[in-house]
Point group: C2
Chain length 134, copies 2
């Protein structure tokens, strides 16, 4: 995918965790299963920890585990935690005097934001537990 590399890794990992919440996994284990690098895993999962979805512990027997019951974590929680966005809401950095461009930008941005809300609403209908059962 494109921007969904992080999202795929996060969802994949959390879905597995939902199947065995007690198990603590190291970033090396996760990276191995996902076919990537431990540092990449820590970068991505670090965002989920900041969002309160995961806990991480250093040292012997340390690693990653869910911070909440898997039934309470939705795909939307993960999407939002990773700051994924369709709109990219740039701060209108171009000081354009063209009224057509302004009107257009407002229109498109408005539709995009509405669609993004629909996406989040749809993603929030599925929890990371439910995905496993397909």
């Amino acid at each position: 995918m494109k921007r969904n590399s992080r999202l795929s890794l996060a969802l994949h990992t959390l879905s597995h965790m939902a199947g065995d919440p007690a198990r603590v996994r190291t970033s090396a284990d996760i990276a191995d299963h996902a076919g990537t690098n431990p540092v990449v895993v820590r970068r991505v999962l670090g965002r989920l920890r900041e969002a309160g979805l995961l806990l991480s512990e250093k040292g012997h027997a340390g690693g990653w585990r869910l911070a909440r019951q898997p039934e309470t974590i939705t795909l939307a929680d993960v999407y939002v935690a990773l700051d994924e966005s369709l709109v990219t809401s740039e701060p209108d950095d171009v000081p354009c005097e063209c009224s057509v461009e302004h009107a257009l930008h407002r229109r498109v941005t408005s539709v995009m934001q509405e669609i993004e809300q629909s996406l989040i609403a749809r993603l929030s209908e599925t929890t990371i537990s439910e995905v496993r059962g397909q």
Copy 2:
């Protein structure tokens, strides 16, 4: 923006054309107004020509103009013509044996496609003529 650079250029140009459909514009004129390069303009508008939205003519007094009445061209037509896509529908190139990943991929792709259809439906409610009037 990110992937919306082409879309912005296309919509901006077509909105102006909607205000004066008879006028033929050169890629140099368009590039100048949009703050970009004639080759970039031809690349982007070329896609719209392939989609039947624009006509282009070479030679003296040549240039670009609308192929249809501006009232019949919607923002969705432009979006689709540019092959914009939220899903990026990769052909599942990873031969992953992990059932969790498969279930996840199906679920996310399904939601994304549904959302993309909503986006196109919303964009099709506005024509390039209407944008001018705000």
